[in-house]
Structure formats: structure tokens, C-alpha cells
């Protein structure tokens, strides 16, 4: 039963990573990056490291997203790539 949950989480993490790299809107990219961090937190917890998952959920999905969005005020919203 465990490996199916892990497979689902890995697929979600890979899809969100690809979307975060390829999307043009920087605000949407930061939100997808937060979703990626939350998937990584679930993956760490599923692999048996709840401490690392706790840190990833608090810092990766919460604080770094807020920091990125706050830094986004100083630049224009669409990427030029």
C-alpha cells in the first residue's frame, strides 16, 4: 500500500516542478513552487523522516513562498524568458 502513495506523490512533485520551471507568470510560478515544497514534505514524511518533512512544510511551503512573493513586488510580473 505504501509504494502507491509514494508513486502518486512523486508524480505530483515532478509535474509541479516542470510547471514551476515552464510557466511565464512569476506569481503563479511561486505558488506552484510552494505546491512542490509541500509535495516534497509529504514525500519526506512518507519515507520516514517526519522531522525533515516538518521543516520542509514550515520553511519551504510557508516562509520561502512569502519571501518570494514579497520580493515579487519589486519586479514586473511576467518573465522575459
Amino acid at each position: 500500500m505504501s509504494w502507491e502513495i509514494g508513486l502518486i506523490i512523486v508524480v505530483v512533485v515532478i509535474i509541479s516542478a516542470i510547471v514551476a520551471l515552464s510557466i511565464r507568470d512569476l506569481l503563479a510560478a511561486s505558488f506552484v513552487l510552494m505546491a512542490y515544497s509541500f509535495g516534497m514534505a509529504l514525500l519526506y514524511t512518507e519515507l520516514g523522516a517526519p522531522d525533515v518533512g516538518f521543516t520542509e512544510a514550515a520553511v519551504g511551503a510557508g516562509l520561502s513562498g512569502v519571501f518570494i512573493i514579497a520580493a515579487l513586488y519589486y519586479m514586473k510580473r511576467r518573465s522575459d524568458d
Binding site: 518533512g53 516538518f54 514550515a58 510557508g62 516562509l63 512569502v66 519571501f67 514579497a70 520580493a71
Partner: protein, 144 residues
């Protein structure tokens, strides 16, 4: 730069949620010996609670509860607690952060280590939460 968010549902919900986030941060700090958690995670959650108030209430109103000048003071106090504990253990004759040499009378060596780790975690908690809120305040400061 950050003004009050003009939605009563968001305002009331965040105002109700923020004290519970701070309480859970203290739980993650003091229960970090026997469950996932610890100083860094607790400090991050505490900083998230303060930032939630900053984002929804605006900087002026949330500064009444948690002033802007208080965050760097808390962060540097945490660093001093961490480094000071290590220096006290060195003065007691041990290595840096060797909790067995802390000057607690009437305590067994295992209790020395328990309280030493707790003091270190409190230092990390204060440092992380203060510096995170400081970074947020600097990022959202008014530009001339």
C-alpha cells in the same frame, strides 16, 4: 507598503488563527525532545504567525502587538543565548556546548543534558523567529 486587507472574513480568520499558530510553535519547541519538531521548526511557525498578522492587519496595526524594532532584538538575543551557553560550558572546563559542564547544582548529568538542550533550542527558536520577521520587514519596507 502593506495595508490592511479589506475582507472581513480573511481578517477575522487570520486573527483567530494566529494565536493558535504561535501556541503550536511553542508546542513544537518544548515537545521537540520526543516528537518531530524543535527550535528551528517552532521558530519558523512563530514567524509565520507574526507574518500572517503583518499581511492581513497591515504593518501599523500589527506593530502594536509585535513592534518592528522588536524582531532584530529577539533574533540577536537568541544568538547570544546559544553562544553564551557554549561559552559557559567552556568556562566550566568542557568543550563548546558540552552540556555536562553547565553550572546547575543538584542535577544529575542526564538532567544537565536535558536542560542544556532545551536552553539551546530556546536560543535557536528566538533567533530563527526574530531573523525571519526581520527579513520580512526589510523586504516589505517602504521605499523612498
Amino acid at each position: 507598503m502593506i495595508a490592511k486587507y479589506k475582507n472581513i472574513v480573511v481578517n477575522i480568520a487570520s486573527r483567530v488563527m494566529a494565536p493558535f499558530m504561535m501556541l503550536y510553535a511553542l508546542y513544537a519547541l518544548f515537545h521537540g525532545h520526543s516528537s518531530p519538531g524543535g527550535g528551528f521548526q517552532g521558530g519558523a511557525i512563530m514567524a509565520a504567525g507574526v507574518m500572517l498578522l503583518r499581511l492581513t492587519l497591515g504593518k501599523e496595526r500589527s506593530s502594536r502587538k509585535f513592534p518592528v524594532w522588536l524582531a532584530p532584538v529577539i533574533g540577536t538575543t537568541g544568538v547570544f543565548i546559544f553562544a553564551g551557553t557554549g561559552i559557559v560550558t567552556m568556562l566550566g572546563g568542557g568543550n563548546y556546548l558540552d552540556y555536562g559542564f553547565l553550572p546547575f547544582p543538584f542535577l544529575s548529568p542526564s538532567e544537565h543534558r536535558f536542560w542544556g538542550i532545551l536552553i539551546i533550542e530556546i536560543g535557536v527558536f528566538l533567533g530563527v523567529s526574530g531573523i525571519m520577521v526581520t527579513i520580512f520587514d526589510c523586504l516589505t519596507a517602504e521605499q523612498e
